[in-house]
Symmetry: D2
Subunit: 281 residues, 4 copies
Amino acid sequence: MTDYILRIDCPDEKGLVHKITGVLFFNNLNVERTDEFVERENSHFFMRVAFSGDCDPDKIEDGLRGILPDSAKISLTAKQIKDVVVLVTKEHHCLGELLIRNEYKDLNFNILAVIGNHETLKPLTEKFNIPFHFLPASGTDDDARKAHEEEVKKVLIEYDYDYIVLAKFMRVLTPEFTATYRHQLINIHHSFLPAFIGANPYRQAYERGVKIIGATAHFVTDDLDEGPIIFQDVIRINHTKTAQELAAAGRDVEKIVLAKALKLVFEDRVFIAGNKTVIFE
Amino acid sequence: MTDYILRIDCPDEKGLVHKITGVLFFNNLNVERTDEFVERENSHFFMRVAFSGDCDPDKIEDGLRGILPDSAKISLTAKQIKDVVVLVTKEHHCLGELLIRNEYKDLNFNILAVIGNHETLKPLTEKFNIPFHFLPASGTDDDARKAHEEEVKKVLIEYDYDYIVLAKFMRVLTPEFTATYRHQLINIHHSFLPAFIGANPYRQAYERGVKIIGATAHFVTDDLDEGPIIFQDVIRINHTKTAQELAAAGRDVEKIVLAKALKLVFEDRVFIAGNKTVIFE
Amino acid sequence: MTDYILRIDCPDEKGLVHKITGVLFFNNLNVERTDEFVERENSHFFMRVAFSGDCDPDKIEDGLRGILPDSAKISLTAKQIKDVVVLVTKEHHCLGELLIRNEYKDLNFNILAVIGNHETLKPLTEKFNIPFHFLPASGTDDDARKAHEEEVKKVLIEYDYDYIVLAKFMRVLTPEFTATYRHQLINIHHSFLPAFIGANPYRQAYERGVKIIGATAHFVTDDLDEGPIIFQDVIRINHTKTAQELAAAGRDVEKIVLAKALKLVFEDRVFIAGNKTVIFE
Amino acid sequence: MTDYILRIDCPDEKGLVHKITGVLFFNNLNVERTDEFVERENSHFFMRVAFSGDCDPDKIEDGLRGILPDSAKISLTAKQIKDVVVLVTKEHHCLGELLIRNEYKDLNFNILAVIGNHETLKPLTEKFNIPFHFLPASGTDDDARKAHEEEVKKVLIEYDYDYIVLAKFMRVLTPEFTATYRHQLINIHHSFLPAFIGANPYRQAYERGVKIIGATAHFVTDDLDEGPIIFQDVIRINHTKTAQELAAAGRDVEKIVLAKALKLVFEDRVFIAGNKTVIFE
């Protein structure tokens, strides 16, 4: 008896829930939870079904193909633990959070490796017996960027990962890179997007005198500050905090936001819908 | 084309989602959103379906009866605006919130009448052309309580309400009264239940030196502080606040918690499951 | 025995707290609470003292002038209830909140009058026996704007107000107008500034797929979306909400954020420090 | 030029702020921030002053003794990094949080040692080169409890600590033990106190169907669930969560609440006032 997660998204039409659950019913499977949502603006259907039972996944998928629109995206998985590679620069707070959770399986993932463009976090990573790949970058111009990304790709190819987590990876990625790993790249951004896009958001927040700061975890599409938002959280601040203290307070939010977003993604709860997400919590 | 909300709860068995949505599909109805949950401890099934289309409700219910367990509770409604009677004592903040929302239809309800055991809130109620019934109570002993509740019942019987909202009604209700209006009584409690049950929770919170206070909206079962919780919210406080200031800050939370809980209930999103609620937000 | 609030801001120098409290001590006054903050970037000193006792305010101010830098701003007030004029357009939720609080003195203010550029909110205002001035605007070009603001000024001059509250007043104000009422204009902005500046922030939030929305109360300086922020709050939202539902949810935040900001201002807790605020909560 | 924190609490009387700041002024010291609060119920005065300058602490304390009531508690420290011993049982989440913060000095403390009544967390502790003392307990009766506490005391005596942090130490402490380390013991409690006091709060929360759960960091006085509260935080939950999932979600809150409480304490911002705290944030 295994637990499966079935995910379907396709153009909406009448009877989809009935037909989809019919395939499961006639295969004698036990539905534990159904979530379904139709985005009316685009008339698009999203469904997540958790079910258990003895099951031939190929047969289920064939059955579903027969009743769903041709353009339907279907995924059926029993893989509850996702494999990830983590990219970092120098800041330790998000990586530390992930390493502790990985060590104790607090989050349903395995960290296969950490890649850093600085060597700073090598000792921390290796304390937990995770391989650390130090890939220094020679600059930030286009050529240096592409050259560095080629090195990253060479390391990535060694691993059989489901997702790549940018845990305070502070280099801007090229569109080629983000396109290659489309829907696999998850970033933590140090602001409550879309406020304070760009460099040094805590300094910006300080200058603007905001009373709340936050962090945003999102899939990466074209650049580091865009892409479908998965999770956000905020904390209250006040006039006594310097920009440095805002950054320190923000780091506590960042790591928790990243961990919560990853949990949602790794539990197969998150659908990407254009530049937005549909999340069945 | 009307929008309907179908709600079903029953013991779980295989194929329920398939069969239920089949009844809708074969009646040519258009499912807009499905939420379904199985409580594993009791193996109990809860489902809410929003659908549109041209529909004979009796025929749908008959169809569902044919496929569901005998003990299934089925409700099918197109009534999106709920009718309510509000019970109050002296505090104005919750009633004020409800009267403004009623005036502008900010909440999907109609206030049919307000009943008060004090006359304090008559002028406020009548500003909005809502009838106010002043029903003074002669005491708090059992006989006085029963006598007063009989008066309340006589007024209630005049109105065709869906729910009775206790908007800071400060009298303890008898089990007979709460049993009579089972699943129709919604109360706002001035604490983050189950902390500070009983009298003067803000004084209790002050004495205990808590750093967060809250409010709880719940269905009333046996007594005012128990029953399935619908919604809760909290605010941060600090040492500078007196017990009176805590109460004032708490009132802002109370009125918003009550309004949010009512919205969930009036949109038919809340199922009562023993002493808990299942809510499809 | 009256309670006074003394507020001082001036360039920082050694001994300020000692000297200031000395003036109070030697006048036999009883300090109840002192808050003091030095903004290091500008080396600027802010202090708020709540004290009680029998006091000649002029003598205290003279004493303070003698020991403080010439550029010091000193304010000493026993006026705990502030007088305000409220400006509105069509939306009722913030005005409703303020009228109920005014009726029951839930907030330490008196609403002297309401000015509307539409007549929509006249009936609500008059239910509470507050004068409503309907001042229609003939357009949004510069001339129409100035002509309308002249009408508003003529009404304002009739009242002896401390603050002007923009409770969803949807007209952009000219720099002349905002300069005239510098530090007296408080606005509620329907977004978590600086995100979604400009028109239709809830539509913008919907398009961007954010998971949290908010509201911001601030002093108005040059335009409606800038100026020192007083208070902000947020709520979680999800993919099921339409732009209209976001706006509805946002309105609940707006009115509470406005009320909380006003409370801080009316209790003389808020200092304007350039484009930021220093708030002694 | 060192930064000092001066903390005073004593019965209130007129002129305290003036006299205290006078001592600093006449010693040519530079006050950076003053926080002061008088608890009216007990007429008790609390003050925290951050100041810089060249200073003989003994001379300052002598000066203050001369002007303050005899019962005044005075503390003057330049020690910004506090030394702590951490007590744990089996759960890793709080210890992990503290070890990472210790490694990178994210929190102004040094972990001198970890004491565990189980050996579970030895490997984690030793990854960070912190000594781990495994002190197994032979039971939970009074004798076993006292015997175990004697062992703990023997280890504690080896270290020059400022505070003892109970980071999910799951043994009930004797009154003798808590009295010995009065005002030095900080505990993280896995519920939003005073709700769900006692064993298995997440199971209790699940049974009660609450919509929000939380955690509480507090000084320990007589037993593990009482004592002055330092910090609390909460998260929303819903009906889909099992008791186990509540516990998992709660752990994320616990570790952040503990870290925030420790920051407040280690920055000398927290005064104990009977069973409450006064905190100058």
